[in-house]
Amino acid sequence: MIADTELAVAAYDLVKTYPDGITALDGLTVEVRAGEVFGLLGPNGAGKSTAIKILTTLARPDSGRAVVNGHDVLRHPDRVRRGIGVVAQRSGADPLATGRDNLMLQGRLYGMGGSRLEQRVAELLDRFGLAEAADRAVRTYSGGMQRRLDVALGLVHRPHVLFLDEPTTGLDPETRAELWAEIGRLAHKGLTILLTTHYLEEADRLADRIALVDLGTVVASGTPDRLKDQLRGDAVHVELRSALTEATVPAVQGVIADLAGIREISVDGRRVSARADDGAAAVPAVLAALDRAGVPVAAVTVARPSLDDVYLRHVGRRFAEAEADAGTNAATLTMTGGSR
């Protein structure tokens, strides 16, 4: 545990079950230091958005404790609200109002006003490339412009902690890169940023430290480098010509496990993954073993450890699969208008 004074956000054992019986958080604990960019990484449905909703006073946990900027979210939600900015997963801008009106109202809700507010709004419109579109209704904005306005809305009152819930989901690559650059600049100025993402690349690139979230709890945390270093060794991925039958899986695992310097073998449909101290050196032996077992190979790749490997190690399945699993749930959630 880190000393409380250095922490901008601290959440302990958060549990949240929705009225429909879905457990979104199952004992989530997170500590974010002042001034760092912290990433909550996990597939859709892992509980990241619910965690953000609790930390930003929108939702109440069933149990657990959370402190933001030194204020308890349940006991002093108003004090928490004054010090945080939030960019939600879906835009919260009023599409019928102009960008400027949206920003002005946001400032007023924090008690700002007069020329000070007008200057702040003009400054933000300028900084986010919205000056020309400032007096147009937000519904005429492109996706990227709306997202930039969302971030500006979260910054009007100069918060100490900025929450970004899936900030770049649905953006084109160019806009995403711009937003990444902006988040980098904000972090550089000393703002504490807690972001959730289901993009491994995004967490790897932006976050000083990350927490892997699965099924409502943190399964691993640390700096991206440290998490990858824990894996010790390269990943060897073999793609087979056809998926293994359940009967042949143990045999294939067996022949590879017999090889020296190879561990953590997992079989996943057509994909066989293992970890080796020296990936390149291990490839010929692996191929020969598979050949002897009579399993035809389509492709082989060797990779330095990635966050995806970290995820596989801690959760037991690949990130993309977890996403696909969550996808079916997410579809029904979207139907009822919920976003978790």
């Binding site: 929108l58 919260g92 109202l105």
Partner: protein, 258 residues
């Protein structure tokens, strides 16, 4: 307290701006009351000849009925705006700011009230153009507008509460269809109470729509009965305050489900 008032003003400001942008909508919603006024007024013109109706011109009698009915029907839709704000994520954004929950709800109710007052004045003027008389003068018309706004507040707050808790368009539509006509016909909107079946008259005494009509008609008559008018207006005010308070409470439930 001052902060809440300031916040309420700015939240209302946002909604009024939206209302001005949709001014055409306010006018379109007047088509229905105008139809009631002109068609219903012509169709039942001779109803006043029934012994005991107690007035000489049906149009004079009908105008307060249509004003009040319009107040009920237009305010029943207020929850749709609440629902849209929830679906667009606007409500969540507001709830994360220090804005008071009361200000969020009040803004919607105040905007609905301003819209109701405007519509009521327009209907009164249209009725006057069609030949209706208001013996109670400006004082009587003012009481009619005030009671229509109070009655509208009861229903806009109810609609908001339903939108906030159930979050379904169908429920708001269903509630409107379910309540509007029974509430209107179980009141003196179109027919003098003396000519109603006894049980309907009894039900009407408990009907807030009827309170609004009793208050307005009392004030609109040639010799205004202000005591009765203020009595019923007071009842409506109490009910309106209660409904607004209840609708603000729904934020707690929303917070549990969000």
């Amino acid at each position: 307290m001052t902060a809440t008032l300031t916040q309420t003003w700015w939240m209302t400001h946002r909604q009024l701006k939206a209302l001005v942008r949709q001014a055409a909508y306010v006018v379109i919603t007047l088509v229905q009351p105008v139809v009631w006024l002109l068609l219903f007024g012509s169709l039942f013109r001779r109803i006043v000849e029934l012994p005991g109706f107690g007035t000489g011109s049906y149009l004079d009698y009908l105008v307060p009925g249509v004003v009040v009915m319009n107040a009920v029907s237009s305010n029943m839709w207020t929850g749709m705006g609440v629902l849209e704000d929830i679906e667009r994520g606007i409500t969540n954004r507001f709830l994360i700011t220090p804005v008071s929950r009361g200000a969020i709800m009040s803004a919607s109710v105040i905007t609905a009230g301003i819209s109701t007052a405007l519509q009521s004045v327009i209907i009164v003027l249209l009725g006057w153009a069609a030949g209706a008389h208001y013996p109670g003068g400006v004082g009587g018309v003012t009481m009619l507008v005030i009671t229509s706004v109070l009655l509208g507040t009861v229903f806009s707050a109810m609609s908001n509460a339903v939108g906030m808790t159930l979050r379904q368009r169908e429920t708001i539509i269903g509630l409107s269809v379910f309540l509007l006509l029974p509430l209107t016909f179980l009141s003196s909107a179109f027919m003098a109470p003396t000519l109603m079946p006894g049980w309907m008259r009894d039900v009407a005494t408990l009907n807030p729509v009827n309170w609004a009509l009793d208050a307005a008609r009392g004030a609109l008559s040639a010799s205004p009965d202000w005591a009765a008018a203020f009595g019923y207006a007071g009842l409506l005010l109490g009910l309106a305050v209660l409904m607004v308070w209840l609708s603000t409470r729904t934020f707690r439930g929303y917070q549990k489900a969000v």
